[in-house]
């Protein structure tokens, strides 16, 4: 079974960020075929836990579950509103507290929303470098939705194309059996400088 995690940093209810996240998830699940499921993590619900994590260095129980959802997924769809010419602080905080290896080699589909299309390069200038640093496999197509796009059929086409690219990456990138932080080096190797 293929499991997709969907992280939405939308703050309002209803949220166009969540709406885009749901559309991207539906496109990905459709392209992945039967047996694929998606699970949404709404960061708003973890806002205080994320701030606490910055202070204490460990996640509370419900944030732990959200992190596990992302770490154990076969791929990640990550969508943020644009705040001050970049991803929102809430969105960034989640990836700040995620294990640095958690997304290494994992397929990622990025989305962003804003009032106008003038912010669309946030995807390329802010989000893509973030996921490159985390060594994720990011789809060539990322989806930006300005308010006006919700009246455009082009948006649906971009979502469909992004979903297919993402599904292709997921199919080619099976999860490794062991989580990266569970391995350890035997002492003779440590002594030898390894």
């Amino acid at each position: 079974m293929t499991r997709i995690a969907v992280v939405s940093a939308g703050l309002s209810v209803p949220s166009s960020t969540r709406m885009l996240a749901d559309r991207l998830a539906a496109a990905a699940v459709a392209a992945l075929g039967p047996g694929a499921t998606s699970e949404v993590v709404e960061l708003r619900g973890h806002a205080r836990d994320l701030a606490d994590h910055l202070v204490t260095g460990f996640p509370g129980t419900s944030l732990r579950a959200a992190i596990d959802t992302v770490q154990n997924a076969d791929g990640l769809i990550a969508v943020t509103p644009v705040f001050s010419a970049s991803y929102s602080g809430l969105f960034k905080t989640f990836f700040d507290v995620l294990d640095r290896e958690a997304l290494a080699g994992r397929p990622v589909l990025m989305g962003a929303t804003a009032g106008t299309a003038r912010h669309s390069l946030v995807l390329e200038h802010a989000m893509r470098p973030l996921f490159s640093y985390l060594r994720a496999l990011v789809t060539p197509t990322a989806v930006f939705a300005a308010s006006d796009d919700w009246a455009s059929e082009d948006l649906a086409e971009r979502i469909r194309r992004a979903g297919e690219e993402f599904a292709g990456l997921v199919a080619r990138s099976p999860r490794p059996a062991v989580a990266p932080d569970h391995g350890f080096v035997p002492f003779d190797q440590l002594l030898a400088g390894g």
Binding site: A51, D52, T56, G57
Partner: protein, 350 residues
């Protein structure tokens, strides 16, 4: 089973009065705390090592030597000694010297430190933290066991025919605990040598403690030092007590809310639920401490953190009274029977 206290030597403003103790006051206070620990019947006093404000304890063997001269029974230890940025030769010399002066009442806990710039300040690279801990300890281990050492490594200048003096008292090196919160390499190191493993068991959820101790026990047996149950485990703990539980919470809350490590984050109640922090009556501290065995098994040393976050000396001494009179006697009774922590032959087991 040993019981004691450990101090990180922070100089912190008392949030209830706005008063910050001077270095001189805080240094005197820590000496007073150590002497009081012996007076109330505790076994161990351990002191941290830091090289930056707001901590004073850059030179633990000086402080511990001074305390050794004023105590008779207390075991003096560290929490932790920096195996990464200290020269292992100097550690070998300093702690052997302390061991002689204290007539064997010395062990030490090795750690890597938690302040990034300490590495460059001492000419090291923080990315080499684990390799430094591994190589430096390999040398320290030999210096205390071999008279003449020829040695060459990656980090330190080579040695030819080097003899570390004084030799360990009666030829018995100080016992070593390796401390780490979540680096499996350090649990592996402790297991490899058959040394002790200490988990600070504070500030973090118990799952970290559980996972690291389990790994250490398994590897201790792998290296044929004994069964997993025979591995030598120490734990920290973080407590504040008043006779009445509500009074403890009320008095400690302003310190908790502003504490350097976790302040301005989760509430006292959340933090008490998620980590081993216990703020309440002596009975609650007893119950919580007894529950540590549920996730690490029988263990050999329990150290409590009681003097940080700006708590005044008077309050800390009251905490020691309660530990000595009410908490530790019960814990000693309940937790007796396991393998004792290794000590120098000159030290009587309590």
């Amino acid at each position: 089973m040993q019981f004691g206290v450990f101090s990180v030597s922070d100089i912190t403003t008392d949030p209830t009065t706005g008063r910050t103790p001077s270095e001189a006051e805080r240094i005197d206070a820590v000496v007073t705390i150590a002497k009081k620990a012996e007076e109330v019947g505790l076994d161990v006093f351990a002191l941290g090592e830091h090289h930056n404000p707001p901590f004073f304890s850059s030179s633990p063997t000086t402080t511990l030597g001074y305390i050794a001269a004023q105590t008779q029974r207390l075991i003096l230890s560290t929490a932790t000694t920096l195996i990464t940025t200290n020269d292992p030769v100097k550690i070998a010399e300093d702690y052997a010297m302390l061991q002689h002066l204290a007539k064997g009442r010395v062990d030490l806990m090795l750690g890597r430190g938690n302040t990034g710039p300490v590495y460059p300040w001492f000419g090291q690279d923080i990315r080499m933290g684990i390799p430094l801990a591994v190589e430096n300890y390999a040398l320290l281990h030999r210096l205390w066991r071999e008279e003449n050492v020829d040695w060459k490594g990656r980090f330190r200048t080579p040695l030819q025919s080097f003899t570390s003096t004084p030799r360990p008292l009666d030829g018995v090196p100080p016992f070593v605990w390796h401390g780490s919160i979540r680096s499996p390499e350090i649990a592996e190191q402790a297991a490899y040598y058959g040394d002790g493993f200490f988990h600070n068991n504070i500030f973090w959820p118990k799952e970290h403690t559980q996972r690291m101790v389990a790994l250490y026990r398994e590897r201790f047996a792998h290296y044929e030092h004994g069964t997993p149950e025979e591995a030598i485990v120490g734990l920290g703990g973080h407590v504040f007590m008043r006779r009445n539980s509500q009074d403890a919470v009320k008095e400690f809350r302003p310190y908790f809310d502003k504490a350097p490590v976790y302040g301005n984050g989760p509430s006292l109640e959340e933090f008490s639920r998620e980590t081993p922090l216990t703020v309440g009556s002596p009975q609650q501290v007893i119950d919580r401490t007894l529950s540590f065995r549920d996730y690490v098994g029988d263990y050999q040393r329990q150290l409590f953190l009681i003097d940080h976050a700006g708590l005044p000396l008077k309050t800390v001494l009251e905490q020691l009274d309660m530990l000595g009179e009410e908490v530790v006697p019960v814990l000693r009774k309940e937790m007796s029977g396991g393998r004792p922590a290794p000590t120098h032959p000159r030290v009587e087991q309590s």
